[in-house]
Amino acid sequence: MSQVALITGGGGGIGGAAAHRMAAAGITVVVADYDHGAAERVREEIATAGGKAEALSVDVTQAREVKALVTDVGKRFGCIDVLANIAGGSFYTKRIEEFTWAEWQEVIDVNLKGTFLMCREVAPLMQRQKSGRIINTASNYGVTGSALRTPYSAAKAGIIAFTKTLAQELAPDGILVNTVAPGPTDTPRVMGKESPEARKQRWAEIPLGRTGKPEDLAEAFYFLTTPESAWITGQTLHVNGGLL
């Protein structure tokens, strides 16, 4: 029986690449995204490549939607072996005095609260299975901070501490909880905003001399689902070309 992975943000750059990587390894992938069209595109690509995938919609900030999603996946497949919480984003770059409360909440909710809601819903299933892998997504900014991204940096730092706590809570049930922390990554969302000059300057700051590709991140997410990482829990795996 094939393993089942639920990936939020599965329609995006890193989430889509992670979905492809896991599907290529024979894992059945549930591509969940706020943007159903994006999830559907990834599902189709995976199916064309010979993998197994489903596309579902979810707004991870809405507890009711999260519950419905997990119930649906549980009914369809009977288990969830891997949860990758990749939905997130920084959305704004502005000084703290310009951030409205609503904007602050939006960024905290999609990154941190969404991760909490998904984990809360999936953990009981994994506890019954006595196994499971949860992989959350932080950012190098969760460690270094990033000027003009106060809520994003706070949310990502929050995810790192949340991951460590959940890892301790779920270890007795054989469930591993880790974080992947991407550095600058060539996702359509980032590349759309950045000038070629800005990109070049960024490259010069990175020891490996290039920004990350979604596929680089996908390998790290996949590694944390494999038997090779069976004794790693509560850790943050930085994939950033040596930036940090």
Binding site: K164, A167, Q168, A171, P172, G174, L176, I206, P207, L208, G209, G212, K213, D216, L217, E219, A220, Y222, F223, T226, P227, E228, S229, A230, W231, I232, T233, G234, Q235, T236, L237, H238, V239, N240, G241, G242, L244
Partner: protein, 248 residues
Amino acid sequence: MKLQGKVALVTGGAQGIGRAIALGFGREGAKVVVADLQVDKAKSVVQELQALGAEGWAVEVNVAAESSVKRLANETLGRFGRADILVNDAGVYLKSLVVNMSEETWDRTININLGGNFLCSRAVIPAMRKQKSGRIISIASGIAHYGAKEFAPYAASKAAIIGFVKALAREVGSDGITVNAICPGAANTAMPRTHRSEEELMARLRSNPLGHVLEPEDFVGPVLFLASDAASYITGQAINVNCGSYMM
């Protein structure tokens, strides 16, 4: 196979975690240079590699002696023409309270554990630079972060390895060489047995959130990952493989 045709040097490869890594590399198709002060034990690891159908070669090395390390690098390059992976695992674990510690105990630990990382890395980097690729993986320790009573030089050497790894990663990144560390949690090897009773050791080894006793083989997966193409964008990191005994 993840490492088909690659040439890997494993210092401290004659026993414990180093031996497990050497065999793991062999299973993935690498040609493995088992480098150790205890060459007879290294030779028996080579026999195990051959039994797996892998190519292995035992070389005697003192990682704290410049000439010995130079010879290791020259002979490896002479024989295989390249060096793709270096695992710095050779080390010693000497017990003493700081107030009672001889300068000899301090120097020996730092020279072998930390100096060995420097000498071995320096020796293979020119070949890796020419190849425009390479993987250096140092075996640090959870003790780097946690400390350990009566093992101050060991803790200092392992924390220093992490600093060294981060600095070296910045120096050689532009040549396509990655440098990372693994921080094993306390494991069921010969090393801690020199200082603890069997009962005390097993209780200690089991006291982690996953309740699993780490064996040398448990570190092979993460090392293979770092050595493989899958980890080509990961450098300067210290990855904790410790069953959640501490989290960073």
